[in-house]
């Protein structure tokens, strides 16, 4: 009798579950500006992690140009959340344009706090950089962890992160960057900023004036990888003078079809839906996986650290913290 009742319950659950599943699948999906029909997070592909989840690795998410507060941004945030179950990233790098259109308290709620509420509640830290739509005062906002500075450094495990203000790269900032890099003994030195030194974007393209001043510094001090936004798509640029360049700028806006076809810079690009990057730094390897709003993996791979483990001459930066342990921002510029 008891067994029969259990069977009925299971059968009912299966039937009900199937009906609900069908209903969800039949719900009309929103369309993009192009009119192309796209799936939503509700119909998204299942989580399919390709990252190795090695012990003591540094795990983070990189996303840019988020600040819209649109349904699409929220859908992407849902996928970010789902992937955190499989890949418990500890923090998020924001590539700038964190607030489009206005920066009143209501905008912070609409375009950031509400969208990433669950991640914020789960104590995932967001580290922001400033874009051309961002006021300098964002550096005081507690959830952007900029510590009152427009450009700053923090370290996790064997990796140092430098957030630069590419919108106003003056001599003061360049001097600070050089001084910090010169004493940085971290295995990995990662830059994140808004404008991409290399890009295949049709609307903007490479920020060549920026590249002219920062690239010699990156080369001189062994910067390994650069993450940027500004372009509303994803691009993995072919290594330039040995440095890895990524663009992850489709976190809240999309510019469909903007990547120039046949660009000699492109290793891999994705410009038909919004996306974010998952990154795992483990020893001498940097693993990455790029996920679209529908949960598809659109790029993945592993890159090897370029520089041999050699400490700079005046290595005094306290950058060898255990994995997961955060270090404070560098001295005031």
């Amino acid at each position: 009798m008891k067994r029969t009742a259990t069977s009925i319950l299971i059968l009912a659950a299966l039937v009900f579950g199937g009906l609900v599943g069908n209903a969800l699948a039949q719900k009309p999906a929103p369309t993009q500006a192009t009119g192309e029909r796209v799936a939503t997070a509700a119909t998204a592909a299942p989580v399919n992690l390709t990252l190795p989840l090695k012990t003591d690795s540094v795990r983070f998410l990189a996303i840019g140009d988020t600040g819209t507060g649109t349904e699409q941004q929220k859908e992407l945030a849902d996928v970010m959340l789902r992937y955190r179950q499989a890949f418990p990233y500890e923090f998020v790098l924001m590539m700038g344009d964190n607030m489009y259109g206005g920066e009143k308290p209501a905008d912070f709620k609409l375009k950031f706090e509400n969208v990433y509420k669950q991640l914020l509640d789960d104590k995932v830290k967001f580290y922001a950089t400033l874009g051309n739509h961002d006021e300098s005062n964002q550096r005081f906002y507690k959830d952007f962890n900029m510590n009152g500075e427009e450009f700053y450094r923090f370290a996790k495990g064997n990796t140092a992160f430098y957030s630069l203000n590419s919108n106003y790269m003056d001599k003061r900032q360049l001097k600070w960057l050089e001084e910090e890099l010169a004493k940085d003994a971290s295995d990995w030195k990662i830059i994140f900023m808004h404008h991409p030194p290399y890009s295949s974007g049709g609307k903007h393209g490479s920020s060549s004036a920026l590249r002219e001043v920062v690239e010699p510094i990156f080369l001189k001090y062994g910067v390994n990888a650069v993450f940027a936004g500004h372009e509303h798509f994803y691009e993995r640029v072919k290594p330039q003078k040995g440095i890895y360049y990524f663009i992850s700028g489709a976190g809240g806006k999309l510019r469909p079809g903007d990547v120039k076809k046949g660009s000699p810079l492109t290793e891999k690009a994705f410009d038909t839906d919004m996306s974010f990057m998952l990154v795992e730094v483990a020893g001498d390897e940097l693993h990455f996986q790029v996920i679209s709003r529908t949960g598809q993996t659109v790029d993945s791979g592993v890159l090897t650290r370029q520089q041999p483990k050699a400490k700079p001459l005046n290595a005094s930066h306290p950058s060898a913290a255990p994995a997961g342990q955060e270090q404070g921002n560098a001295a005031k510029p």
Binding site: Y141, K142, Y168, K171, S207, A209, E212, V213
Partner: protein, 205 residues
């Protein structure tokens, strides 16, 4: 013959290596980076240097006045809420605007420094570079930014990326004040309260 060919090949290879090392676009460790370059002020003719120094003094006077105002206000914490940021910005904007009531265009950007800035941009950007600079500046959404001293740069408007190569040539500013392009015009904007401190017309040729 074979021996001669080897020597010739060796010479050609050697010359190529020397040429490559000399003209390689990849900077070597010994090269000076942008952050290490000397202040362009040092290489200016005396007359230009006097104009630039006087301009920097006027900007410094502004930042001193503004700092004195800010010191009397509650300090904005490094971990503030959006409400606290908004309140601080609004109050600082109000107090500085009151302190500068009656300020007019050209008080900082005098004709002398305006001419120097135009000349600097013109000499630094030519041909393709000038076209690219114009494109980058003019594509930005800055319509509606008022060209008025003591008015606010609207927070909803884009901030045009200042080309770093140009920033290295222009007179250095204290960190509280920024150069900003709006169309072909150049503004001096306070980074904390968004006030337009001064502006000059047709900075971009």
């Amino acid at each position: 013959m074979k021996h001669k060919m080897n020597r010739t090949t060796g010479f050609v290879m050697g010359a190529l290596v020397v040429f490559g090392l000399t003209f390689s676009p990849v900077p070597t460790i010994a090269q000076q980076t942008a952050g290490q370059q000397p202040d362009p002020l040092e290489s200016l003719p005396v007359k230009d240097r006097e104009i630039v120094v006087a301009f920097q003094e006027r900007v410094k006077d502004y930042t001193k006045m503004r700092e004195a105002i800010e010191l009397k206000m509650p300090k904005l914490a490094k971990e503030s809420t959006p409400e606290q940021i908004q309140a601080h910005k609004t109050e600082l904007e109000k107090r500085v605007r009151e302190a500068r009531a009656g300020a007019k265009r050209g008080e900082l950007f005098t004709p002398g420094i305006a001419a120097f800035i135009r000349k600097t941009i013109k000499s630094e950007y030519k041909g393709r570079e000038l076209v690219e600079l114009r494109e980058a500046v003019l594509e930005a959404d800055t319509k509606g930014v008022p060209l008025r001293v003591n008015y606010t740069y609207p927070e909803s408007k884009e901030l045009v990326e200042m080309p770093p190569t140009l920033l290295l040539k222009l007179p250095q500013l204290p960190k509280q004040v920024r150069y900003r392009f709006v169309g072909r015009n150049m503004l001096l904007v306070d980074r904390e309260n968004g006030l337009i401190v001064d502006y000059m017309l047709n900075a971009l040729p």
